[in-house]
């Protein structure tokens, strides 16, 4: 668990439109890396390139290397389905499967991947994942109820439980709190702090305070203008970025002079 990722000269395209240019960075294991930047600068695009979700969009493609465990995720012969088993993802809007119960939602990743798994074993994994997502106490009495009946914050934690149930090495989160109220946001932030003991976590956030609060490393993306590709301006340890950034753009963005 908890792998390091080396990204080398990554260019990301939507058809002929280059959305992100030339990103290189190291993502450290057992740490939270936050990506910030103005809207449209390609944070989500970049994040989705890390587990090959990007290529689900027709005509989308990448150039460059994403190396995990000395293996380039984009090397020919690598099955994206396997990549995604190792690199999990949580989305901006909580999206539990509406036809499944809380239990089934958590078990979904396993059920969909493994032919046969014993009920008792599955029970164990579901409980463990829900505990890991700080949700067990709240839902243990209604595991059979539809997952979409939970509150927004609970749904988001359910999605996190679902993601960690398949035991990935890396967890990507795209603005996981932006649809939540402050109390739920707190709960998720606490959870992230716990999860980083075991996972490599990359999180995209619009909220600089959140980045400052939870992350160990912060990367700042920016964009020249509409139609220009986004690029990584700088990445460093979070305290450094927020106190003494190298680039004036970073400083301006962080101090709220734009964005």
């Amino acid at each position: 668990m908890a792998k390091r990722i080396e990204v080398e000269d990554l260019d990301i395209y939507y058809g002929s439109f280059r959305a992100v240019r030339n990103v290189s960075m190291t993502i450290h294991p057992r740490a939270i890396t936050a990506l910030i930047g103005p809207s449209g600068c390609g944070k989500s695009t970049y994040l989705r390139a890390l587990n090959r979700m990007h290529e689900l969009i027709p005509a989308a493609r990448v150039e460059g290397r994403v190396v995990m465990d000395e293996q380039d995720l984009y090397a020919p012969g690598v099955d994206p389905v396997d990549v995604r088993k190792h690199v999990g993802m949580v989305f901006q809007r909580p999206n539990p499967f509406p036809t499944m119960s809380v239990y089934e939602n958590v078990a979904a990743g396993l059920r969909l991947n493994h032919k046969r798994i014993r009920k008792s074993e599955l029970d164990g994994i579901v409980e463990e994942s829900l505990r890991g997502a700080n949700l067990w106490e709240e839902v243990k009495d209604r595991l059979g109820k539809p997952g979409s009946g939970l509150s927004g914050g609970q749904q988001q934690r359910l999605c996190i439980a679902r993601a960690i149930a398949v035991k990935p090495d890396v967890l990507l989160m795209d603005e996981p709190c932006s649809a939540l109220d402050p109390i739920s946001t707190h709960a998720i932030e606490d959870l992230m702090a716990e999860l980083k003991e075991n996972y490599t976590i990359v999180i995209v956030t619009h909220n600089m305070q959140q980045a400052a609060r939870v992350s160990n490393y912060t990367g700042f993306f920016n964009i020249g203008g509409t139609g220009e590709p986004g690029e990584l301006v700088e990445i460093d340890e979070t305290p450094t970025i927020f106190s003494t950034p190298t680039h004036t753009d970073t400083e301006e963005y962080i101090s709220g002079r734009f964005g």
Partner: protein, 362 residues
């Protein structure tokens, strides 16, 4: 709550007085529309009575008078735009009511004429050995269920798979031409479908192969495009969110489709499928040719002719014996039965979709 208004420096200059906003205009009293409707009805009744009463004329008059009346009244009191809005509301509502009249009329006609033979015997007897009075449509009901059931068994997998292909895989020429030709297929006249099935079975199984299965093939030709269309729409409605969530768990595409996409869309799909069944269950022309008819009950769709409700109804109506009354009564009751089957199918579809519908609140 804090102090939203505490003392503050002089606010920016205020507006010059007199430039007041006019928000309240003249408006019609609240019961205006009922009053106008009453007046329109009254006038229409008088006119209709004077010119010789006709329901159609009366209804049309009410609609026109009410719409025009409201428009003129509202226009003088509330202005042109409000008046147009009111008039359009009345037009839209009457259009809807007008569209309902044929349905009600059809239902009343079929029920009132079909009630006579709507008895136990009708549902338990075939026409074997029956002349004139008596007999029933048991053989036709089972035949209808068998042929439509078989057609469903063939059409749903093919139609659903095609819809999956179009939404989840289809790009480029093949997908485009399938989309186009599915549209064309919806336009195949039902009788041509029957002729096609008849010719096909003659070709493959030899002359005179007329059976329930041939009818089911003809019905499938009519049913598949409907299933494709409706399933396609429903699968498209499944949010990409869910697909992505499943992909992100490391799920291969076929499982994403089978385990996440289709279950989420199943409510809509089942509604579409039932509507498609309802659409073909009453087909006459193709069954006339491909399935034939018999007076006896035949449970074997692969051998021998088979009676179906629509064909039964048609023949009872088209070539009655002497006296014709019992034949015509059976024809209408068969039609009524068909309509009931369609209605039950619709109810089933609704229950299925309620049952399977993604649960949003517990």
């Amino acid at each position: 709550m804090s102090t939203p208004t505490k003392s503050r420096p002089a606010p920016p200059e205020t507006d010059p007085p007199g430039d007041s906003t006019r928000l309240v205009r003249g408006s019609l009293p609240r019961r205006a529309s009922w009053g106008a409707l009453g007046a329109a009805t009254l006038v229409a009744a008088v006119v209709a009575a004077l010119t010789g009463f006709s329901v159609t004329l009366f209804v049309l008059l009410v609609v026109v008078l009410y719409t025009a009346g409201m428009y003129v009244w509202s226009r003088s009191a509330e202005g042109r735009r409000k008046a147009a809005d009111r008039a359009f509301t009345s037009v839209v509502t009457s259009a809807f009511l007008i569209a309902l009249t044929p349905l009600i009329s059809v239902v009343i006609t079929v029920i009132s004429r079909g009630a006579e033979r709507f008895d136990g015997k009708f549902f338990s007897y075939s026409m074997r050995g029956v002349v004139g009075d008596g007999g029933g449509a048991y053989h036709a009901i089972t035949g209808t269920l068998i042929t439509s059931g078989l057609a469903t068994l063939m059409s749903v997998p093919i139609g659903l798979a095609t819809a999956v292909y179009l939404v989840e895989y289809g790009r480029g020429r093949l997908a485009k031409s399938i989309t186009f030709f599915v549209d064309v297929m919806t336009g195949i006249p039902s009788i041509v479908a029957g002729l096609f099935a008849y010719a096909l079975f003659t070709l493959v199984f030899g002359a005179g192969t007329i059976n329930g299965f041939a009818g089911a093939v003809a019905l499938s030709v009519l049913m598949i495009p409907i299933v494709v269309r409706s399933s396609e729409e429903m699968i498209k409605l499944v949010p990409d969110d869910l697909r992505e969530a499943a992909f992100a768990l490391g799920t291969p595409k076929w499982k994403v489709i089978l385990r996440v996409v289709l279950p989420t869309a199943v409510a809509g799909i089942s509604t579409g499928v039932t509507l498609a069944i309802a659409r073909v269950v009453g087909e006459t022309a193709p069954l006339l040719i491909a399935t034939g008819t018999t007076a006896s009950t035949n449970f074997n769709p692969f051998s021998g002719q088979m009676a179906t409700l629509s064909v039964f109804s048609y023949y009872e109506y088209a070539s009655p014996g002497v006296p014709p009354e019992p034949y015509l009564a059976r024809a209408w009751t068969a039609a009524l039965t068909l309509m009931l089957i369609v209605m039950v199918l619709n109810l089933v579809a609704r229950s299925i979709s309620l049952f399977f519908a993604p649960k949003t609140r517990s």
